[in-house]
């Protein structure tokens, strides 16, 4: 691959990183804190490409046109072409955040086991309806068995088809990037849930309901059941993941 092409590729890749960090697109792939790393990396790429172009132009125009001048193997010489893959995928499609498909493929696993000395980060809940993440509800229901029985909760998540024609509310949590996403789901029951089952997968909902006592009974069953009081469609949140 010629030097000029390398510069063009590097410039485009840097621009793609800057582009996804400019709005909320990057949140489909990584955590919010990653934004500044992306901006820094994108800027470095653009600068390195620009500096290289300027230097090549200023030195002789013909000196650099053809290859690296290294005796690379045939495969190694062509590998930089692959940088085009993330550039094209980001520029043309920008794949959406993980959703119902990932839930169907990944399945549900138990939350990390609670430490011996109590659960960190889980304060006692105030009275009244509790707005919480799906991940927190699952954690509380599984770790502090029975603590959520009969509680009224408000959850935001997207729909996935449940077992036997039912419907579930799901949310993914990520630690670093979408490659390490974990699935948390609650089963929705009650009269309104029948209508919800007709919604297409990946419909974002805010659900208000009560946790059915005795659901999420430990490692074999990590899916709490929520009896839906009311549910309304909401726009997808800027950050589709929980942490």
């Amino acid at each position: 691959m010629g030097r000029t092409t390398q510069h063009a590729l590097l410039f485009l890749l840097g621009a793609a990183l800057l582009r996804i960090a400019a709005d909320d697109t990057y949140l489909r792939y990584v955590r919010p804190g990653h934004r500044w790393l992306l901006i820094g990396a994108g800027a470095v790429m653009v600068v390195l490409a620009a500096v290289a172009v300027l230097r090549d132009v200023r030195s002789s125009p013909d000196a650099h046109g053809h290859g690296d001048g290294h005796a690379h193997g045939a495969v190694e010489r062509h590998v930089p072409w692959l940088l085009l893959a993330p550039v094209l995928v980001l520029a043309l499609v920008a794949p959406p955040a993980l959703g119902a498909d990932a839930v169907a493929q990944g399945g549900v696993s138990a939350p990390a086991s609670p430490p011996a000395g109590g659960v960190p980060g889980l304060e006692p809940l105030p009275d009244g309806p509790a707005t919480m993440s799906v991940a927190e509800l699952v954690k509380r229901a599984v770790w502090e068995r029975g603590s959520m029985d009969g509680r009224e909760v408000v959850l935001v998540g997207f729909t996935v088809p449940g077992e036997a024609g039912g419907v579930e509310l799901a949310r993914l949590s990520i630690f670093c990037c979408a490659a390490d996403a974990r699935v948390n789901v609650v089963e929705l029951t009650g009269a309104p849930a029948t209508a919800l089952a007709a919604l297409p997968p990946d419909t974002w909902l805010e659900v208000r309901g009560t946790v059915e006592p005795g659901s999420a009974a430990g490692r074999a069953d990590v899916v709490p059941t929520v009896v839906v009081g009311e549910a309304r469609a909401v726009p997808a949140p800027a950050d589709p993941y929980e942490f």
């Binding site: 590097l10 590998v79 043309l92 498909d101 990932a102 990390a112 670093c176 490659a179």
Partner: protein, 328 residues
Amino acid sequence: MTTVVRRTGVTSLHVFCLVLVVAILARPWLEQVLLAPVVRTAATVFVAVCVQALPFLVLGVLLSGAIAAFVSPAVLRRVLPDRPGRAVPVAGVAGMALPGCECASVPVARRLIGQGVPDAVALTFLLAAPAVNPVVLVATAVAFPGEPGMVVARGLGSLATACVMGWLWQRVGRAEWIADRARRAVEPAVGGGRWAVLAETARHDLVSAGGFLVVGALVAAVLSVLVPPAWLDALAGQLVLAVLVLAVLAVLLALCSEADAFVAASLSVLPLLPRLVFLVVGPAVDVKLIALQAGAFGRGFAARFAPATFVVAVLCAVGAGLLVIGAR
């Protein structure tokens, strides 16, 4: 009459422009393919791995450029102990100074070899930097609250892996297994001072390592769709089998070393020992790293180094685990 020799034929720039035009024209079709249910998840994971790793790769190539420009071989010789056997553990502990993902350490290790650091020492650094660093150890402590043994065992197992591989390379490793290009400095484009060397080295390493990173990300994306973690639940109670399966999984999933502790913590049906193996193997050898190493040091190197590292890492992890947390 002009004396300029014009090369006829197609240059890579022509191909590049053609690819761009075709891709833009084929956009509706591409969208349809990439947004099909199964492909969509893989495409998201692919982009996620690239986007997550690229900043660390950039950090690595900037360091690599700085080493090429500002750290002379003489200085490195003065800093490191004379005998490589003693320098190996020093390099292992020096890994603490580069708190980042494994992607950053490959270009740095390559540049160390280019500056005349003994191969065994540079390779020890390569394995130690992503695993034995404060960020990763703190993340492990957060992921396993109430199990400080995991942090100790992980640090110990990873350091042992790095040092054993270093000493092993010193004994049986051959210089010719490492491709010549790893030893060559990047020729600075005509003139220019140290900053020009830094910029050109960083640019060169970024373009080539970036391509290999894409290979690793592609493999990891496909595998993450094919190997859902949920079926691991079947391994509960099978200690030996679980050790082997999680070791292989660490290679295939190619998680970044700052996140793998949380994934390991979430596999709570499995015993602790296999999860420790997962944490020690992952930063030392995974598909993304193998691709990056093949790019930096040659395919012949990767074909020998990766399997050896895998075996050593599993053994060191099991050893450290039995010592610190026992068989549970």
